[in-house]
Amino acid sequence: MSRGRWIGFIAAILLGLTAGLIYGWVVNPAPVSNTTLASMRGDYKADYVLMVAETYHTSGDLAQARADLDYILPDEPLIAVQSAVITAQQLAYPTNDMQMLAQLEMALKAGAQSAGGTP
C-alpha cells in the first residue's frame, strides 16, 4: 500500500474513533445506573450521613459509623460529616438533626485526635 493510502487509512481510523467516542460519551452515553453512594448528590449524601449519625446516637459505635461513612468518602469520615453539616445548614435541617451530626463530628474529631496522639 502506498504512503498516501496509509495516511488515508490512519486518518479514517482516527475519524471513526472520534465519532465513536462522541457517540458513546455525548450522543448516547451509558445510562445512569450502577452508581455508588459516593456519587450521590450532596443533599442525598447529607441525609445518608444523618442516618449514620442517628444510628451512632443510639449505638455509640464509632467504628460502625466510620465503616458506614466509608461508602460516602472512603477513609475520610470526618470530611464526609463536615460536608454533610454544610449541606444540612444550607437546607435548614431541624436542630435535633444538626445536633446529631455535630455529635458524630465531635466524636470523629476526638477519635482522630486520640489516634494522632498515639505514637
Binding site: A12, V32, T36, L37, S39, Y48, H57, Q82, A102
Partner: protein, 294 residues
C-alpha cells in the same frame, strides 16, 4: 497488479475506528456520573442504603421518614425488598440488628397502626451548639481540595440527572402509641397445636408472638437449636401480609428442636413435627406455636 482498488480502505479504517471508539466510550471508559440519585445505585449499594434507613428507623421510629427515604430507591415493592434483604442477611449470618430493623420496618409499612418506641440514646447529652459557619468555611476548602485530589482521569460527566425531588425526609413525627418489641421480654408458650393440612403442605413451625395485650410483635428474635448444630436465628415481621408477629421455620421429619423467643424467653424443648394421617397416607405436619408476653 492494478492498484486501483477504490476507497474501501478508507471505509475499513472508519469502521475500525468507530468500533474502537464505541467500545472505549461505552465499556472501557464510560461516562462517570456525579450528583446521582439513590434510584440509580447498584444492587449492593442499594442494600447498604436500605439497611441504613432501617437502622435509622430503629432510632427515630418515624415510619413516614423511613418511607420517604426508601421511596428514593424507587423499588417496585419496598416491603418485599426489605423482607428479601432481611432474609438474605439472616441466611448468610449477617448483621442481626440490621435484619431485625428491616423486619420491623417492613412490618411498620404493612401495619400502619404499628408504632415502635425509639431505641434509647447511647449518650445522655447532646451538643448544644452545632458547628459554626466559620468552621464549616474551612471545611469547604478542605472538601474542595479532597475532591480535586480524588478527581480521576475519567471523562467528565456530560449528563447530569436533574434534581427531581428533595432528599429531605418528611418532618419528624413522634410515635404516639408504643409497641416495643425488645429482645429482653420474656415470652412464654401459650399454645402448641399440630397442623395437619395436607401431604402437599410444607411442614412449617408457625410462630406467632404477641405482647401482653395480644398485639402481634414484629422484630422479635427467635432462636432455634438442634442437637449438635449451631443455633439458627430469625425474626418475626418478615411476613407482614400474615401478621407482624409471625415467623416460620421449615421442620424436618424426626428432628427435635429447642426454641426460645426473645433473649430472655422460656426455652421450649423437644419440639417435633407431628405425624399426620395413618398408614400409607401418613405425612409430616407442622406446628402452630403462640408465644405471649406475660
Amino acid at each position: 497488479m492494478n492498484e486501483k482498488k477504490g476507497p474501501f480502505y478508507l471505509f475499513t479504517g472508519l469502521i475500525i475506528g468507530l468500533l474502537v471508539g464505541v467500545i472505549v466510550s461505552r465499556f472501557m471508559l464510560p461516562v462517570s456520573y456525579t450528583d446521582t440519585e439513590p434510584a440509580t445505585l447498584r444492587t449492593d449499594q442499594r442494600e447498604v442504603y436500605r439497611s441504613m434507613v432501617a437502622r435509622a428507623f430503629l432510632m427515630e421510629a418515624d415510619v413516614n421518614r423511613a418511607r420517604s427515604r426508601l421511596e428514593l430507591l424507587q423499588d417496585a415493592s419496598p416491603v418485599e425488598e426489605l423482607i428479601a434483604q432481611a432474609q438474605s442477611l439472616l441466611a448468610n449470618k449477617g448483621d442481626e440488628q440490621s435484619a431485625r430493623a428491616m423486619a420491623l420496618l417492613a412490618a411498620s409499612f404493612s401495619q400502619p397502626n404499628l408504632m415502635i418506641t425509639p431505641l434509647p440514646p447511647a449518650f445522655t447529652s447532646m451538643p448544644t451548639v452545632p458547628p459554626t459557619l466559620a468552621v464549616t468555611a474551612s471545611i469547604q476548602a478542605a472538601t474542595a481540595s479532597i475532591q480535586a485530589a480524588t478527581a480521576t482521569s475519567m471523562p467528565s460527566p456530560t449528563t447530569r440527572p436533574a434534581p427531581t425531588q428533595t432528599p429531605r425526609s418528611t418532618p419528624q413525627v413522634q410515635a404516639s402509641s408504643t409497641v416495643q418489641p425488645t429482645e429482653h421480654y420474656s415470652f412464654q408458650l401459650v399454645s402448641n397445636d399440630p397442623v395437619c393440612q395436607s401431604a402437599d403442605a410444607r411442614p412449617l413451625m408457625q410462630i406467632t408472638v404477641l405482647d401482653d395485650k395480644e398485639n402481634p410483635l414484629a422484630g422479635v428474635k427467635i432462636e432455634i437449636t438442634l442437637v449438635n448444630a449451631a443455633p439458627t436465628y430469625f425474626y418475626t415481621g418478615l411476613y407482614p401480609e400474615i401478621s407482624p408477629g409471625y415467623a416460620d421455620y421449615l421442620m424436618a421429619k424426626d428432628t427435635l428442636y429447642n426454641l426460645r423467643v426473645g433473649d430472655g424467653g422460656q426455652l421450649v424443648t423437644g419440639l417435633q413435627a407431628p405425624v399426620c394421617g395413618e398408614g400409607s397416607d401418613a405425612y409430616t405436619g407442622g406446628l402452630k406455636l403462640t408465644f405471649r408476653q406475660p
